[in-house]
Subunit: 395 residues, 2 copies
Amino acid sequence: MSNEIKNLLEKGVVEIFVKEDLEKKLQSGKPLKIKFGIDPTGSDLHLGHMVPIRKLAQFQKMGHEIQLLFGTFTAQIGDPTGKSEARQIKTREEVQKNAETYVNQVSKVLDTKKIKLYYNDEWLSGMSLKEVCELAASFTVQQMIQRDMFQERIKAGTPIHLHEFLYPLMQGYDSVIMKSDVEIGATEQTFNMLAGRTIQKHFGLPQQNVLSVPILVGLDGKMKMGKSLNNYIGVNESPKDMFGKTMSIPDELITTYFELATDLSMEDINQVKTALEGGENPRNLKMQLAKEIVSIYHSKEEAQKAQEEFINIFAKKEIPEDIEEILLPESAYKIVQLIALCGFSGSNGEIKRLVLQNAVKVNNEKISNPDDTVDISEEIILQVGKRSFYKVKKA
Amino acid sequence: MSNEIKNLLEKGVVEIFVKEDLEKKLQSGKPLKIKFGIDPTGSDLHLGHMVPIRKLAQFQKMGHEIQLLFGTFTAQIGDPTGKSEARQIKTREEVQKNAETYVNQVSKVLDTKKIKLYYNDEWLSGMSLKEVCELAASFTVQQMIQRDMFQERIKAGTPIHLHEFLYPLMQGYDSVIMKSDVEIGATEQTFNMLAGRTIQKHFGLPQQNVLSVPILVGLDGKMKMGKSLNNYIGVNESPKDMFGKTMSIPDELITTYFELATDLSMEDINQVKTALEGGENPRNLKMQLAKEIVSIYHSKEEAQKAQEEFINIFAKKEIPEDIEEILLPESAYKIVQLIALCGFSGSNGEIKRLVLQNAVKVNNEKISNPDDTVDISEEIILQVGKRSFYKVKKA
């Protein structure tokens, strides 16, 4: 197995169905059709979304054809994956708009000119009840119920609406229409992706291989990266924010992030592991990680600049790196009001006094006039006294 | 409650959802729409099929509108009710032909001119996947799995194909289109009929009442009446066959047959019960039952005639009434061959000797020439010696 194929099949991969089969296909040199399905319900991508996208980029670099499937039909129905309840049905317009924003964002790692785009309402909206029944006949209730997520909901007594059983069938049928050779997705999509194998077989087609990638843990080190938990790094964020957020991850996530969020090879990542085990300061490795990440979404130069700024603000001045970010509605505030809004405990009189005593700094520069207005349209670091630090930004 | 309504709601009824509600509707005097669904997969009706049809006739006599629904779409899909496996999909032509034969047969108890006919392929075949999903969203997997038949199959490890979960939705949606007020069906249809209530509610319609009738036990007294078990009385059978078959039921079925297969009121049936308990000869009550049944499907006159013939052949000559019927492929046989085919133990030589000795009778008439041919296109009673009786007919 070449190093390139090894990295493709092993780096940031949870499971492959069936690995030997996919390996053979890859070694044959024939360009493969690599499917990735997107449920275009949200528009801002973060590094969690990019884990499978960057796996696609690996395939693309090796000459394979990337099939991006927008679930323009299925998004209107709602896939229950990982949700305790069926989702709200979206309007067609909303779904279409989101798809466009999506392509724009993935262009940072994929050559979008070479990608094939698919919209599943094109074949699913015209499907008749009879065709649905024939499709449904290829699957049993027992197979559906085996799915972890359904098991959990049955145990918890949470209703599973019947249309949720139809979802994997539709996703599987997409693979029939698209004649996909490989489908990539997060682990939570494994069941749906395997449905593609069942249904391709039912239609007499070769079965796609399924490659699942892990779910990226967010900056908090606990929960899945996501917008609602504000524990994410967005692909459209500034080099400075990206760098700073990366520096805030818990040390135990360093190698995971190298594996799932950078282009480093398995060998390079093993060196990182060895360094960490050898007592290297995690901070230095995080710096390397942050530079790698900024390089992907911006450039090496901007990554270098972001690092220098970071060192300037934080490292030299002994400001803690893990300050929680506070989002406020306006883009500018009077300094006294800002300190109060950040949750500093003390009366306005006390705050005013601290300002006059030169005990307040914004981005490490003293503010001594209580009437000064502070711009927070870009993130600032606010220091009050010796121990109170706030990272503040307009929401 | 009037006697008429009482007989309607209590005679030959297993369950009503919701009885008080249906009683109110009936007392309002407003004509109701009474739905009955037929899966037009077979063409010869028997008394088992007529149990719900005769309940419909009761409604019709009271001025209600009968809606006969031919599952022209659903029959192509296959309802798994009571079957351990999904049914073979029928062709459209076959389904349509069966529907026509059906109407012809039910005209014996229903005024088919007043009936409204529906064919569910008219609205189901045009249904889109999106509409299917919306319909499916009104039901949960947990509700489906509760169904007895599905529970049994899950326990037995028999696959339930996913389209079988769609079947109750379709049947329920029929009630939406037909705006049915009441649905009638055998107990095994209760789940599907109740789905109609759920789905009518989902579409903001008043919920139909559901009236389930029992499954009629066949002539053997054990299994459900059915063609494959040859334990049935067909509605197109001759008065003689109908009469004779009725006389062959076990005594313990007498009151059940009065309740489910005749027009006798509950009061009359209670008199039958009292008579049986008082020591009346069951044979006399079966005669009354047989006459009632023949009267429904032929006429009082023919019923009377059938009774006289029966008495002539059986009663006076002490022929047992419970002889099993033997079906043979040809319409005529040489007497010696016929006796052998009926399973009489003895060589051809012995049989020939019995014929020559005047020990063989067909319909109570002696046959003394071993070369005689016997016509069995209509059922005959064959007697060999004193104790061997055979009822024989062309299959």
